[in-house]
Symmetry: C3
Amino acid sequence: MLEETLPLATVTVLAVLEQAYFSLQVINARRKFSVSAPATSGPPEFERVFRAQTNCSEYFPIFISVLWTAGVFFSPGLSSVCGLLYLYGRFRYFHGYSESSQGRLAPLYFSAHVLWALIGLSSLGIVLSFFRFYLDFQLGSALNLF
Amino acid sequence: MLEETLPLATVTVLAVLEQAYFSLQVINARRKFSVSAPATSGPPEFERVFRAQTNCSEYFPIFISVLWTAGVFFSPGLSSVCGLLYLYGRFRYFHGYSESSQGRLAPLYFSAHVLWALIGLSSLGIVLSFFRFYLDFQLGSALNLF
Amino acid sequence: MLEETLPLATVTVLAVLEQAYFSLQVINARRKFSVSAPATSGPPEFERVFRAQTNCSEYFPIFISVLWTAGVFFSPGLSSVCGLLYLYGRFRYFHGYSESSQGRLAPLYFSAHVLWALIGLSSLGIVLSFFRFYLDFQLGSALNLF
């Protein structure tokens, strides 16, 4: 069981490292554009970096939840591959958004599609597990008749 | 073990779908009130929708953490029922807040009470598990005397 | 397995309680400085409390992810001790930031170091688990030769 979740744990640590990287970019942008905490507004260049990081942070727990649900109830391998694609999409989103508001859109749609794929795999895994559990129960009851 | 967590996984996926729904409402509000990213301030109608979504996002990982702790250490069924009530409360909170600041309060208190119930169930489950573990150990030591 | 994760579940519930405490402080600050929702800007005293809570919320899911990865794949005891240190650092960060922007820095660096320690333990645990899994497999294949 634990071995099967190793790829999921690996993707989780990579996701944390990516968030740490985004946080460092915000610290750099605060210095570069002289926006001292607690302020979060400033030149659009700063605000785009700040909002890119906030958006990635907001989606982090959603991503981790469906990564593990899809991984445990459907397939750890397929879920981890989707996880890596998601992290790649978020990396491109962050740098696209840092350059222009328009630049965030293509990688944002890509990340959203990967997230929907993970939601789909999670749902499929849950439905299949319900059926398996229910059929085992039915089979067990049927066998008890003999 | 895995079968017992199926209701928790189901509530988790429903919570993710609810967050996706809230995000789409923010995208609609951005269009309706012409507030382009990265801006997050605008007319109060927009700011209420934006803050409602931010607040739900902020509580999402806290909710998922206590949902699973209460579910694994106390009762997956009771925890999942609380989870569904929480998601219902958050749905009413989002739409109440979208209409007026006052409208967010009743469902916010409701969600907070459900969250406290989940924190209570988690704590109870952890304390009971500690006792069970400690008593098993004690019993084991006592049996070794014979 | 479940007993081993009890300290991690305990730290998780404590982390949730700490977030609840921070949220109550923001509600108090909203009253004290007359900043009604949905507004999030106001006097610097309010903005510091608000940003302190937002920053802690943002790091909450990252912290929970590495707490459990380090706990399950390396050591639940060591990971829980790091977890308690992190929560202590965040408590000091919140109160330091509430007083002055400068006051947030020392406890922020402390929390960041503890988080990096948890990322290190997670990575080490994952690498060791990969090797153990691979070596068991290798040993299994070698034994099949006899």
